[in-house]
Symmetry: C3
Subunit: 178 residues, 3 copies
């Protein structure tokens, strides 16, 4: 007798469902083909990038693709362990979009003598960097479908570096699914 996971395709074809459950039938082959709940976690280090918004989808995928491909359905969680950079999902084609987003961030969060910040010990770019980090956030959760990140055609993963001095950035990647 073996425990089995069963993939249930509902009458509404849009849903893909899976229930991890027991079975009273003894079937090694089915247990082998039906995915079981999995967790995988890894810290990816992205090399230093200049201040601005950067498309890092391929760098992230290079680190996680073999493991990602083992998940039929699930969620990928990316967590940046820093407070002066951010992760966001946005346009993956025209680098002008990334430049314009950096222009916006610099316009909306003042820096230098005109800025009202008390926290200035770590340089004029530090306090603005903290604010930008909370505006865009430091984490992403992306659906996994059939072994790949199920993003839209024009979506990509951006690392936004808000400090002047480039620093390597750590991203904890957690994969969970079946």
């Amino acid at each position: 007798m073996l425990m089995q996971s069963s993939v249930i395709f509902s009458s509404k074809p849009a849903w893909v469902k899976a229930v991890h459950r027991t079975s009273s039938t003894d079937s090694n082959s089915m247990a082998a083909t039906v995915p079981a709940p999995k967790w995988a976690q890894k810290t990816v280090t992205l090399p230093p990038l200049r201040r601005g918004c950067h498309l890092v989808t391929s760098q992230i995928l290079k680190e996680i693709r073999p493991d990602l491909s083992e998940f039929k359905c699930g969620l990928a969680h990316l967590f940046l362990q820093h407070t002066s950079a951010s992760l966001t999902i946005n346009e993956n084609y025209d680098s002008d979009v990334r430049d314009d987003t950096e222009t916006f961030l610099n316009k909306i969060v003042p820096e230098g003598r005109s800025a009202p910040w008390k926290h200035t010990l770590e340089g004029p770019d530090d306090m603005p960097a903290h604010i930008k980090s909370s505006m865009f956030g430091c984490a992403l959760t992306i659906p996994i479908t059939d072994g790949r990140l199920n993003m839209g055609t024009w979506q990509g993963i951006w690392l936004c570096e808000h400090r002047d001095a480039p620093t390597a950035r750590r991203v904890v990647v957690t994969l969970n699914g079946i």
Copy 2:
């Protein structure tokens, strides 16, 4: 012998805990009543909406409620597959709150001749739409408790459409829990 999931109610009543584990007792009835880990994933298409913030809780629930009701405890993840719209959680009652939020977004992200954007090929509303999308984000994770989204009394799911030309928007919904 059957594998079983056990729901453990701790001495601190605020916690509801479940461990999916083996048991050496043969009890079909228990295996039938205790929930097993489940995954469900579906792409929901929201019809075109005019530029602005829209309450879409009931539209989303209409698509997922039967499946949601099967989860005692878990997480619902909503992922918008677009870079010129956003998903956020905010007030679910007064439509003025949604109008005022749209007013804010238009005030903070300049559009037209005064705007400094390089990316203008797709129209004057496109680059502002990308920025607004990263400000509010394209994904939500909401706790599931006893078969429903465990939001606060005044919380609702908003789709914010940042483009002038209404477009159908796809949301990948992933449910995970027991």
Copy 3:
């Protein structure tokens, strides 16, 4: 015969992987040492805090640490059930960073006579509070590694209270992992 979870350490040491699966070997000891998929959910109430940004990492941990410590690998999800406050991750050391962030929010979202809001029935601070809530968001997902929140050295959990009148705030905490 017992169902077992197996922790697989890959050849790339950075990954920690676990597959919850069946085994044909009868080994009680292994079943006892290898973690099984777990869910835990609890509503934590944070006491009223004055308007501004507050570091609440230790308050949250006090409520969840014993349960968190049972997870080797997973995700912690925090969901604020309110639309006039927010949760964000930012610097955990200098309180000036929190004060400056509050200064920024008040600068960017106008309040009082100069503000263009239609929604004013609940006071001049209410509509700005809703906007700030969507800017920073009401939810966080944080990786769990070896029984603790795997944040960076300088990261902490902030509750940002955007209303003038302090109110107790509820956070639904969901832990999921192995």
